[in-house]
Amino acid sequence: MNIISKIMPSLSGDIESPEALERRYRQFSSSLTCILLALVLIPMFIISVLAHSQYKRMLEEEEVGRLLLNAEQAENTVELFVVKLRSIINFAGHEDRYDELLQPGVLQNLFLRLRNSFPDYTDIEVVGPDGHTAAWEGDYVSKGQSYIGQPWYDETLNKGFYISNIFTGFRGVPHFVVAVSRKLKGGGQWVMRVNIDGKTLQRYVDAVAATSVDDLFLVDQQAILQTTPKKYGERGKPSIFIGGGALNRRLDAEVERHRQAVGGEFLIDRQMTDGKAMLRVIRPVIGTPWRLVMVKEDYRRGAKWINFRNHLFFYLVSCGVLSILIIISISRAITEYIRASDLKRKQFLREAENNDKLASIGRLAAGVAHEINNPLAIINQKAGLMEDYMEMTGDFEYKTELSGALSGIDESVERCKTITHRLLGFARHTDVTEEEIEINKMLKEVTSFVDREASYNQVGINFHFAEHLTPIVSDRGQLQQVFLNILNNAIYAICKDGEINISTRQMDPGHVEVKIADTGCGMNKETLERLFEPFYTTKPTGKGTGLGMSITYGIINKLGGRIKVDSEEGKGTTFTFLLPVRNKEAGKEKTDV
C-alpha cells in the first residue's frame, strides 16, 4: 500500500497548477500500468522460461536415451553378423582340412555351398604355410600370389583371425577380407581367406538404420567411411563427424553406463555439422576394426520442439499483448475515475465554501436589515407627521422647500425599504408555491418584459428551444424573478448591439437545462468569484443594489436547481440553470440562509 500511496496524485499541498496535477495523473497512470504489467508479465515470463527449460531437458534426455539404445541395438546386429561370419569360416576352414581342400573340386564345392547361403562371398582362398596361395575359388584370386610380409597375413598368423576394412583393391569393387589361420599337424600354419562384397555390410547397416535416426554408418579407425551414409558423406572418404564435443552434463550417468559397457572408444556428443546441431554417438563394433556412428539432428530441429516453441511463443506473445492492452485500459479507467472524483470533490468543496460564505453574509445582512427597518419606520412616520402638519398649516416662508425636502426623505425611505426588504427576502426562506410550468412558454413570457428595452439597445433575443420538454413543477413567480434578473443583466452587459441566446434542453428525464448566453462585456475573474455575494455590484452607485444575483442564487438553490456561470471578459457570459422536474427538496425543513 505504501507504493500505491507514493504514486497516487494528491490534491493537497504542492499541486499548484492544473498542469502539475495533470502531470501527476499521467505519472500515476503510467506507474499503475508498470506495476500491473510487472505483476502479470513477470510471472508469465518466468513460467514460460521454466516450461521452456523443463521441456527442453525432457526432450534432451529422451533423445539421448533413445539414441543410445538405437546405437546399442545397431552395434549388436553388426556384431552378430561378424560373429556369424567368423563361425562359418571357422567351420569351413577346419584345422585338419588343409590337405582335403587342396584336392581338386573340394574347395569349389565348399565355395558353391557357401555362396548358396551367402551370395556376397566373392572368392575363397587357401594360403599354404609358405605364404603362397595353395588353392582358390572365385572371381578375382590368382594362383601363386605371395602374402609374406603383408600386414593382414601377419596379423592372421599372430591372432588367428583377421577382418579388414572395406577397400576397393585392384579389382575395383568394395569388399573386405575375413581370414583365419590354422595349425598343420606337421608344424606351420595355413590360412583360409574369404573376400566378401562390401554390399553385405551395407545391407546390414541399412537394415538396422532406424527411422528415428538421421544417419547410421561404419567408419574405420581413421574415420574413413566403411558404408555409404544416407546423408553425410561417401564411402571411402573421411567422415565429417570427427572430433569431439560436449554433452549435457545431466546425462553423464546414463552415458557412463554405456561407456563402461563398451569401452574407451565410446563417444556421445553434440556438434555443429553443416550449420546444423547434431547429436552423435560413436561406439566400436566388437571384434571388428569398425566403429558404428549414429547421428541424429538435434531435437531443436524436430517437429515436437518447433511446435512446442511456436506454441509457447504464440501464447506468450498473445497473452502479453492482451494483458498490456487490458492493463493500459484499466489504468486509464482508474485514473479517469480518480480524476473525476477529485474534480467532483473539488467542486463540492468550492460549492460548500461558497454556500457557507453566502449563508454568513445572508445572516449578517438579514440582521442589519431588520435593525434598520425599525428606525426607518420611525423616519418614515416622522416625515409623514411633518407632512401632515404642513398640510394643516397655512403658507409660510420656505414651505415649498420644506415640502420638497420631506418628499426627498420619503423617496430615500422608499429606496431603503426596497433594499431591506430584498435583503430580508434573500436571507429568508420564503414559501415556495409549486405549480406545473412549461419552461419554454415561461421564458417567452419573461422575455416579453424586456422586449422593449432590448429593442432600444439593439439586442436581438434568439430562442433555441428543445421540443417536448417535460413540464417542471416549481415556483413560477420566483423563476420569473430569476430569469428576468438574468435577462436585465444581459442587456446591461451588452449595452448596445448584441445578442442573447436562450436555449433549453432535456438533460435527463429528471432535469431540464436552461441556458442564457449573452454577447456582452463578460466578467473578470474577481467579479466571477464574487458574483453571488450580496451587495457586490459592478454597476455605478445607485444603479444596482448588488442583490439580484445573490437572490437568484438563493431561489435556484431553494428550488433544488443548480447555476453554472461561464464568462470570458469581452466575449460574453453564459448562465446555465439545471432545474429539477420535481423539487426533491420541497417540503423538507429548511433553515434560513
Binding site: 427597518n373 425599525n374 425599504k417
Partner: protein, 117 residues
Amino acid sequence: MKILIIDDEVEFATTLCQRLKLRKFDVSEAHSGTEGLAALSASVPDVVLLDMKMPDMSGFDVLKVISRDLPQTRTIMLTGHGSGEAGKEGLALGAIDYLMKPVELKELLAKLKTLEN
C-alpha cells in the same frame, strides 16, 4: 373607531398615534406586550396594531390572548421582517391582516377603512 398601538419602538408608536389622531381616530398606545395586555383589559379597542417582536413577550403571544378573550377586537400585525411569512403566521393565529415596516400610512388607512365598513 378605537385603535390600540402596541409596539416597543416608542417613537414609532407615538408618531403613528399622533398621525392617526390627526385623522380623528381614537388612538391609544402601549410600549410592551405587558403594557398592551393591561391596556386591553382596561378598555377594549376595535382594532389593535400589534408589533411582532417585543422584548418582554412576542406579538404572537399577545395575539393569542386577544383571539381568545376579545373576539370583537381585530388585529393588524406589524412586521419588520420584510416578508409576508411572519404576517401569514399571524393570520393563522387570528390576525385579520398584516403590514410590513416601514408602514405606509395610506395603506394602513385603506385597511382601517375596510374594517370600518
